[in-house]
């Protein structure tokens, strides 16, 4: 956390969340891990849909809650989307090929990653989506490690992202 950056943006609609996510896509590289936190309905899947659109992925992008892992290989960069909610124990991560995927040839988005903190890599970008009483979504991004710091920095510098640094 020592040198982590934190940026924040408020969005008023799921479309705006998607648009924000789309602006992240061009900066992603193979091996990037993004941990998505947020309550049911906060818009985690929409966020991944936005990234997918930005990567030029054609087919429908759905929630991986049942499948645990959904892979999209037809974009500029492979996109992997995990939902670890249904897993019972960390040893099941081995069974589902989690480690190979996280270290893999694409960008990996992980929902419920905090269930198995030891299984997260040293460096990752954490995105927390919260909904306030007025239905406004607060998207907060925080970097862990050097690569995630660079990623967040260039993403935030993109004026289309409209991210604002917080202290």
């Amino acid at each position: 956390m020592a040198n982590g950056l934190t940026y924040v943006r408020q969005t008023t609609s799921t479309e705006a969340t998607k648009q924000l996510a789309t602006t992240l896509a061009p900066y992603l590289r193979a091996g990037d891990v993004i941990v998505l936190n947020g309550d049911l309905g906060a818009g985690k899947t929409q966020f991944v849909q936005g990234v997918a659109a930005g990567l030029g992925i054609g087919g429908p992008v759905t929630s991986p809650t049942f499948n645990i892992l959904l892979s999209y290989m037809d974009g500029n960069l492979p996109l992997f989307h995990f939902d670890l909610y249904r897993l019972d124990a960390s040893d099941q991560l081995e069974d589902i090929g989690y480690y190979e995927t996280v270290d893999g040839p694409g960008a990996t988005f992980i929902e419920w990653g905090d269930k198995f903190p030891d299984a997260l890599p040293y460096g990752y970008l954490q995105i927390d989506i919260t909904v306030n009483e007025n239905g406004i979504r607060i998207v907060q991004a925080h970097s862990f490690g050097e690569r995630a710091r660079n990623l967040l920095f260039v993403w935030a510098k993109d004026s289309k992202s409209r991210l604002v640094q917080t202290q």
Partner: protein, 860 residues
């Protein structure tokens, strides 16, 4: 086999994201390997599709015939488990079919040899990526003479490894625990170097603090910043194995006498195995759990193991009670903290003043470099235990004890075999132990296991008796098929070969030709390693299955990593047995890979890591024997299994496929033309049986136990939901039913009522059957098919079979029930599909890969 006509060595490695292939000429005169070609290719996670085509291309480029290969060498890792298994399974297939020896060399040694060849001298460290923030660090001393390894393989957190490597050379140790342990490792490392004649190098290293170590290994890609303070990075192409490095490692092993490229018996491909350095996660987590003395009774079922407030925590909890007894009624389980007191008690009884206290035993259990196993009799009383400590590539047996009344039942041997097997996975290559000079029967046992006496420890025991130190190789269990039970079936009557001398070569040739085409099929999609051979008449002349169920039972389900490990251990034994059985049936002294017409394998669907082993092995064998390679869809195999029971079965037909992984209705319009009419939206039927059985504390697998219990219960006792019964389509949903059963059990428990398990089992089973039968009936009406048949393990359920009988009679549809042995996974059914595909010349290329999911409706 003439040495002169087989002068080449083929070496390859796919432990990392690189395919490295080396081809060298062997000179027995000075045991040298001279480089013919060395290539390194980015694998892009597709080693299995690339490896064989690349090997084939390299041989062509060099103008070398594959039959000029005298020996295969394969990188054993450590590295990516799947990557190592791809190379190892391919190597086993190639070596078995070429009938040449196979040897494993360390991937890390090969990288060190690559550095040495590139001119690096002095300190070098290889840090290979072990994923999950861990690395495999090994330090070497490189000289003009070669490489000297300073420590055994281990797996360490990347930041810890970096810190220790940066801390000094070689005083900073990468041992995982404690100062005492680290000191021991250090001393051993020096001894090992002494033995290798490299005293000078080590002495230099100790004194030459100015030398900056050279760092290599693919972990640098991910953790460059961490390892920067540890030395100078080598050029990136040297971070992964090279063909040249592999050949140099093989040459060194040849000169050391560790391998002999011309000795096929010494290099039996069955013996080559990957280096893992850690157990599967399921086993590691089990160890952590068992070492905690949680106050719970593991024998009482529902309240303790099945239903917990936190549903997440239930998955592995039935481990202990699921262990299955052997034929003597003895159950072997990893030692848990709850039994430490019993061990201490027996220690006092058996070991006198050398006894360990309970605290000492408890202290052992959570340690990652210790392995403890225990044996229990039918009354769950402890009758034996053994413990081992893995230190620098060797497992030191700390304890082996059996209660006097139970000696000579093979308990000590079985305990040692389990310790050896785990120790091997943790990186041990040999085993050592101390035994009392006077204990001759124990010494005889150890000698039978391949141990030799290597010295004495004077007055080792507290009563001043001397100990004999004995050392032996791993593994200790010389089972052909990795300790699994082998089941062998064959349709055909054995041929009369009583007049052995009359079986001339020409006669053999004729008999083999008379049976052709002979297609060998391999199946490794889940937890069964199987092989079968079908002849030209469609008879299975050999059908061999090695079931791993004993290895998975204590986890309450199939553990994919364990399944993959067992497949690679068993694949050679199973295929050898399959060829031998077929030879006997055909009436020839020996059936060789080159006598076959094609090699087939299940390529999908299933556990991808398990499928990969079969696919890589089958491709290797097909390539080496110059045979066509056939891929088969596992589900099509289940459909074909009905041909075994009803040879005249003709499409159109409706098949219900129900197993642990599938629940679907398939319309077979013609052989090879399938339409999935409906499948499950969530859990498979077999999965639901397993989960309900687990919730009820009945053990694993759930199908047989529930069906047995259900026979004694009232199927109408509890009205569990019939999900999707009136959905108007052919889809299934089992998840809700499973939850309903678990909720029912929990509510009854909360209300303080005793659950009638037989009623629950019968009511649950009936809910499943009602939906299965109704949907099958709907499918038959929709298609107008006059044949109905079953496939998959759940088809063995007697109540389901009975219900189908009634339904089919009512509709005037012919019902085919495959024999029980053909319901579960087997290679016979794969061979039947393969025979049709062979005749239709529908072959796969050597770039084929395993797939977890495929749609049976798509022709392939």
């Amino acid at each position: 086999m003439s040495e002169l006509t087989h002068p080449y060595i083929l070496a390859f490695d796919t432990a990392n994201e690189i395919i490295a292939i080396g081809l060298g000429a062997l000179d027995p005169a000075d045991r040298s390997v001279s480089l013919a070609a060395s290539v390194e290719i980015e694998a892009h996670r597709a080693s299995n599709t690339q490896l064989l085509p690349r090997i084939d291309a390299l041989l062509s480029e060099c103008g070398i015939d594959k039959h000029a290969i005298a020996c295969v060498v394969c990188g054993r890792g450590p590295g990516s488990f799947t990557g190592v298994r791809i190379a190892m399974a391919t190597a086993k297939g190639v070596s078995a079919a070429l009938e040449v020896p196979l040897y494993g060399v360390s991937t890390l040694d090969s990288i060190a040899w690559g550095l040495q060849h590139a001119g690096v001298r002095g300190h070098a460290v290889v840090v290979a990526d072990a994923m999950r923030k861990e690395v495999y660090p090994v330090r070497f001393e490189l000289s003009d003479e070669g490489i000297a390894r300073l420590e055994a393989d281990s797996v360490v957190k990347a930041d810890e490894a970096a810190e220790r490597l940066a801390g000094g050379w070689p005083a900073g140790s990468v041992a995982k625990e404690g100062a005492a342990n680290a000191a021991g490792l250090e001393a051993d490392a020096v001894n090992a170097a002494d033995a290798a004649g490299c005293t000078g190098a080590v002495a230099d290293a100790a004194g030459g603090a100015s030398a900056v170590p050279v760092v290599a290994g693919d972990a640098l890609k991910k953790y460059a910043d961490l390892f920067e303070p540890c030395g100078t990075f080598a050029d990136e192409p040297l971070w992964t194995p090279t063909g040249q490095g592999l050949l140099l490692a093989a040459q060194a092993a040849w000169r050391e006498g560790d391998i002999d490229p011309f000795d096929a018996a010494f290099g039996n491909p069955a013996f080559a195995l990957p280096v893992y350095t850690r157990l599967s996660d399921a086993e590691e987590n089990e160890r952590i759990r068992l070492s905690k003395n949680e106050p719970k009774n593991l024998r009482t079922g529902v309240q303790d193991t099945g239903i917990r407030r936190d549903q997440r925590a239930t998955v592995r909890d039935s481990a202990i009670e699921n262990a299955q007894a052997d034929e003597n009624g003895i159950t072997y389980r990893p030692l848990d903290a709850a039994h430490a007191q019993m061990v201490a008690h027996l220690e006092t009884e058996l070991m006198g003043t050398d006894a360990w206290s309970e605290a000492l035993v408890l202290d052992e259990l959570p340690r990652k470099d210790r392995v403890w196993w225990a044996a229990y009799d039918a009354d769950d009383a402890l009758v034996g235990y053994a413990g081992g400590w893995i230190v620098d590539g060797q497992v030191q047996i700390l304890k082996v004890a059996t209660v006097p009344a139970m000696r000579r039942c093979g308990i000590a041997r079985s305990l040692l075999a389990r310790i050896a097997s785990d120790a091997r996975d943790l990186g041990a290559k040999s085993c050592s132990l101390e035994v009392r000079t006077s204990n001759e029967s124990a010494q005889a046992l150890y000698r039978a296991l391949g141990f030799e006496s290597i010295g004495m420890r004077p007055r080792y025991y507290s009563d001043r008796e001397d100990a004999v130190i004995m050392e032996g190789p791993l593994p200790l269990d010389h089972h052909d098929v990795a300790g699994m039970e082998l089941m062998v079936h064959s349709d055909a009557e054995p041929c009369d070969t009583s007049d052995e001398t009359a079986v001339q070569r020409a006669d053999s040739r004729e008999r083999i030709e008379g049976s052709q085409p002979l297609v060998l099929a391999i199946e490794t999609s889940c937890d069964e390693t199987a092989a079968a051979i079908v002849d030209g008449r469609g008879s299975l002349v050999s059908d061999v299955v090695a079931s791993q169920i004993d290895f998975h039972a204590r986890f309450g389900g199939v553990v994919p990593e364990i399944a993959s490990r067992k497949h690679i251990e068993a694949i050679c034994g199973v295929t050898d047995e399959c060829l031998d059985v077929a030879a006997e049936r055909i009436g020839v002294p020996r059936l060789r890979w080159r006598d076959l017409s094609a090699v087939a394998v299940t390529y999908a669907p299933g556990l991808v890591g398990a499928l990969v082993v079969g696919v890589a092995f089958a491709k290797g064998a097909a390539w080496a024997a110059d045979l066509p390679f056939i891929g088969v869809n596992h589900l099509e195999g289940h459909i074909y299994a009905n041909k075994i029971a009803t040879p005249d079965i003709t499409p159109p037909l409706v098949v219900s496929l129900v197993s642990g992984g599938h629940t679907m209705l398939v319309h077979v319009k013609a052989w090879g033309e399938y339409v999935t009419m409906g499948s499950t939206l969530d859990d498979a039927v077999g999965e639901a049986f397993d989960k309900v059985a687990k919730a009820m504390g009945l053990g694993y697998p759930g199908g047989p136990v529930i069906s047995k219990l259900a026979a004694e219960g009232d199927a109408s006792a509890i009205g569990f939901p019939r999900a999707m019964l009136h959905s108007g389509d052919l889809r299934f949903s089992l998840s809700g039913l499973k939850t309903a059963v678990i909720t029912y059990l929990r509510n009854e428990e909360a209300a303080g009522r005793t659950v009638d398990k037989a009623d629950v089992a019968a009511s649950f089973q009936q809910a499943v059957i009602d939906v299965q039968v109704a949907k099958a009936e709907m499918a038959l009406k929709l298609t107008g098919a006059k044949e109905f048949c079953l496939g998959g393990g759940v088809a063995a359920n007697p109540a389901l079979r009975a219900a189908y009988r009634v339904m089919c009679e009512k509709l005037g549809v012919r019902l085919t029930l495959p024999p029980m042995s053909a319901c579960t996974d087997n290679a016979g059914m794969i061979a039947l599909v393969a025979l049709d595909r062979y005749r239709a010349k529908r072959f796969f290329g050597l770039d084929a890969d395993a797939q977890a999911h495929v749609d049976i409706d798509q022709p392939y």
